[in-house]
Structure formats: structure tokens, C-alpha cells
Symmetry: C3
Subunit: 155 residues, 3 copies
């Protein structure tokens, strides 16, 4: 039956065209996305700094600044930067991040150090910049903050 074959062929072609159009539509729709909307009055994030690689420390500081200046969040985001494990190196007095860390603290970012790491590595509080806070544990801080609705971000 030539006629039914022709109809089948047409159906296959149409389906293919529709599929391609749907895919094109999905891709175009993705391109048109401009980001989630910040409809709440305030936002909170805790950054986990547990690595002494200078690239990671610098990325963490850059990330925090990017969050603070995101036009959607500017003026309504509270951030904490908690250091533990190798990340503690960033807070050691005499290091190269003094100016950037002080600038973050002056912008209201909480800078906190894990006390467990201080004990494990036999670092006294005096060896840190004098504006750093000490919290019982970095991991506990992450868990409690998450339960308060804060985002946990690991640079």
C-alpha cells in the first residue's frame, strides 16, 4: 500500500522536525535564562576554607567578594569564612592576606577559625591575625549554619 507508506514517511519526517524544533527551543530557552531571582530580604553563606593552596585561598577571597557584589545580593548577604585544616594558614599573622582579610571583616564578613585545628597543630591564638574569631570546630560551624539556612560553599 503505497499510500500508507507515504503517510508513515511523512509522520517520521514530521516527528523528526518537531523533535529538532523542541531541542532548539530548549537550547534557546536555556540561553535566555539570566539567573535565579533574589526575592528574599536576606541571604547567608558560609565559605569552607580547608586548604593551604594559595590558589584556593585567593579563590575563596575572590568568591566571597563576588558574592558580596552580585547585584542580586548586594547589601543583603551575610557571609562567614571559616578556616580549618590547611586553610588555617590563611589566617596566620605575617602572611600575605592581611589586607584582603581585614577588608572582608570591615565589610561585615565573619572570619572564623576552627579551634580543633589550632589544638591539633599546636597553634596559639596569638599566631593568628588579632581580628580572627575562634569557634569550637569548623565542621560544627558548617553543620549549624546549614541548619540555620546558610549555603555552604567550598571554593
Amino acid at each position: 500500500m503505497k499510500k500508507s507508506r507515504l503517510i508513515l514517511l511523512l509522520l517520521i519526517l514530521i516527528t523528526g522536525v518537531v523533535d529538532a524544533q523542541t531541542a532548539d527551543h530548549v537550547l534557546a530557552k536555556n540561553r535566555a535564562f539570566t539567573g535565579a531571582k533574589a526575592t528574599l530580604k536576606s541571604y547567608h553563606a558560609i565559605y569552607q576554607l580547608d586548604n593551604n593552596d594559595p590558589k584556593i585561598i585567593e579563590k575563596a577571597i575572590r568568591n566571597v567578594n563576588n558574592a558580596l557584589t552580585d547585584p542580586r545580593l548586594a547589601g543583603k548577604v551575610q557571609i562567614e569564612l571559616v578556616a580549618f585544616s590547611g586553610g588555617t594558614d590563611a589566617y596566620l599573622n605575617g602572611g600575605k592576606y592581611a589586607d584582603e582579610l581585614r577588608a572582608l571583616a570591615e565589610k561585615g564578613v565573619i572570619l572564623a577559625q576552627c579551634n580543633n585545628t589550632l589544638k591539633e597543630r599546636k597553634i596559639s591564638r596569638d599566631q593568628l591575625y588579632d581580628f580572627i574569631a575562634v569557634v569550637p570546630s569548623g565542621n560544627g560551624e558548617l553543620i549549624i549554619r546549614q541548619a540555620e539556612g546558610w549555603a555552604i560553599i567550598k571554593p
Copy 2:
């Protein structure tokens, strides 16, 4: 008092046996666990891609596909893959991830690029695959999504 000594000894032995049984029970109970139950109607996750290591990029794509096909979540999970910092390399036109990224977009995964990174690295939007969305900042995107109840996952 021999009798009381004997009783003490018996108590110690029993306690030891009970302890061992309790430990065995806890281990057997852990083995029997089959995963958290997905009782909600929908789930959301944003994947953070901030590294240009091909192993990390490939892991991110694999992770997203694993989440989409987890029998507990299939058909009810919305995913966004946001690239910033080194992760931007994955979205550069002419790279080797075109097919896999297009397939993700066609499955409804939102593919978003941080605009701050584009500015810092002087990359124009034209240099990305044409189906990639641009958002003000990757970090802002993570924070807003978390506040909306999305999981943040860093591969």
C-alpha cells in the same frame, strides 16, 4: 568474698558479650540500609563547576547524569550546572564537551556561566556554546539556589 567476685566477673563477661552484640547489631543495621527515601514531589540541585581539570569536568557531567537517572529521583529532579573560575573552560566553544553539554541541556539541565568570570578573563559570550546562559555571578547563583532549597554539590 568469693561469691561477689564471681558475680562481678560474670557481670563483666556479660557486659562484654552485650557490647559485642550491640556492635554487631549496629554494623548489620548499617549494611541493611538502602538509601534515603525520596518522598517529595520534586528535588533540586545546583552543581558547582569551578575547575578546568578535565577529570573534574568529566566527573561533573557524570555526576549530573547519575543524579538524573537515580531511580529515586528520575523524572522529578531539576538540575543546574553553573560554571565559574576555571570551570568556564568547559563551556568554551570548540571544546570537547559540546555533545555531552547539549545532551544535558536537552534533558532540561540549566547550563549557566558566571558573568564575573567572563569579565575577569575577558571572554565574550560569543566564545561560549550558544546555548549557555549567563548569570551575574556563580557564587550568587549558589547562594540564591540554596535559599530556594536546592542542594549545592561540588564534583
Copy 3:
């Protein structure tokens, strides 16, 4: 007008002093911070172990123990350690983490392995410690736990 100039100069000086005092106050306030308060009855965290680097595996085990012993969380935190991708190596029978993992399980930590990774790497369940649970996918587990209010932490 000399007088107005003088007033202007004074204003600038006063503003500078006030700014410096405000900055000092902010820094002192940060130093005085002692950590978030754990006001809830229970807390939950899922640790993501997706790397076979011994330093990361050891950090993961240390992190979990630090969370369990944080004085704010002791006795009221439930933890799950989910392994996938390279992290699976930590659970392979005959490895060097048997004692530490068994100790975690005995403390009530859920130890779970991603089934997708087992299939991809052709690892049978028998090759894992016999007290390890198997879940459909590590990524699905993270997403479902987050929706249940658990913190996701990547060591």
C-alpha cells in the same frame, strides 16, 4: 573663606577618626565571636567522599569525628559518609581504614556506597567491608539528604 575651609578640614578629620573607630569596633566584634549556637534538638550532615587521595580520605574521617565531638553538637548530630567515584577505595576490604570506619559505624555514622560506582568500576559488594551500606547513587543520596535538611560537606 578660611573659616569654611577649616570646618571642612575638621569634618574630614572627624570622619576619618569615626571611620577608623568603626573599623576597629567591627574587627573587635569579629574577634569576640565564639561560633554559631546549636539551639535545635538535632542536626544532620552528609559527607561526600569522592576522592581516593589518602589525605582526603583521612581528612574526611577526621572531619566526621570533629563534628561528632564538637561540644555544641555532641550527642545530637546524625552523620552519613557516602562514598562514590574514587572515594570508593576507602571502603575496599583489605584497605587501611577498617578500624576507623568500623569505629565510625559503631558511633552511629551511616557508611554508604554508591551503587553506580560499583557498576561502573565492576566492583562487587563482597569487595567492600561487610558493614557498608549500598545506595542507588551517591549524588541522589546527597540531593535527598539536602532536601531533608542535612548539610552536605565535601572534605
